[in-house]
Amino acid sequence: MNPVIEVSQLNKKYGSVEVLKGVDFTITPGSVVGLLGNNGAGKTTLIQAMLGFEDTNFGYCKIFGDTSPDLSANTKHKIGYVPQEAELLPWMKINQIIDYTRSFYQHWDEKLVSQLKKQWQLDNNQIIEKLSVGQKQKLAIILALGHSPELLILDEPVASLDPSSRRQFIRQLIDINIDKGNTILFSTHITSDLERVAADVLILKEGKNYYQGGIDELKEKFIKIYVKSERPLPEDFHVPGIRKRQRIGGHTMLLVEDIARINLDAIKTTYQATIETEQLSLEDIFIEVHA
């Protein structure tokens, strides 16, 4: 299956500041991928470079086979995008901006649009300028879903939504993913939403991809190990794939990237140690890798 998105060695500098330092990843059709990263990790820059809003210094990004920024009209029609801060025409009424957006597309899902409008209590005659940040975000989501895009790219779509609207939005994403097999890439800080809706995650750290793969695999492999021994572990103690190491009193805490590669019994006998392991939530893993 051809990937929907293919990013290779993508590099982006603002002046002398390197924001993306060679990011590689592919996204296959029908997958739901969460993009995680601290503020300033390069999430928005990555999304904007992918869509061709930003030029890049090295590497490439392909969407449906077209190389950014030269995306064909056909490809653009297959993409739905919700930016972090929706740029909506402030003087328009809700029904006007919906009509205006619809005029750009051959296909428009009336039913979905009016259903979401109702669910999210957006009234046709409201003027955009008067909407709250959350309402604007909802409207931007509706506008991006209207033409039934095959690929949805959302930059922190739920940041300003209240918890119940967030849930509705998550349900909506699951629905369109099941119904139409759409591909969804979205960045967020709310890891519990990602754990529900996304099967895969891409963690950006300091402009590089730190991890790409299944959330399940991440949780099963990234394990915290506490080693407690009579004498502290030697400085040069080593096991494969240590992502973090910390000494807490007599314990050594290790965060390892693949528990299956580590022979815990050997550590127990060699250092006469007791070992405890701890599984982590996505949020815990995220915090650990950034601490």
Partner: protein, 126 residues
């Protein structure tokens, strides 16, 4: 509606939570041979999780022989349940709960005999 409760922010992957709960429902006869499971879609919508997660759990339970895919119907509980696991394996399923209990008891500084006594009491009451 099938009474499954998942906690997305747990360290245990969602598909593992699903497998565990379905296994228990079969073991406790809350699900019987021939019973139909919700479709992937229904369960994904009910639990608000990615359908891939549900399908992964179902496939693994199918491979185990606990569930069967029946054409036109979907997933059902196998009529021929695998023999009950040997007691050692069933005990190993308790391992996570035991290690949690042990570490909690240590933190609270409760004597080992007292903990065992409490467990005994609790078992007798069930």
């Amino acid at each position: 509606m099938i009474p499954i409760i998942i906690s997305p922010s747990s360290g245990v992957p969602i598909y593992r939570q699903l497998i565990e709960q379905i296994r228990r429902m079969v073991a406790s006869k809350n699900l019987l041979g021939g019973d139909q499971l919700p479709s992937i879609r229904q369960l994904a919508v009910q639990l608000e999780v990615n359908p891939m997660t549900i399908s992964k759990a179902y496939s693994m339970l199918e491979a185990e022989g606990l569930l069967e895919r029946k054409r036109g119907i979907g997933m059902i509980v196998s009529n021929q349940q695998p023999e009950q696991l040997p007691v050692e394996q069933r005990i190993s399923l308790l391992e996570p709960a035991i290690s949690k209990l042990v570490s909690d008891a240590k933190q609270l500084d409760i004597d080992c005999e007292l903990v065992i006594e409490e467990v005994r009491k609790s078992l007798r009451n069930k």
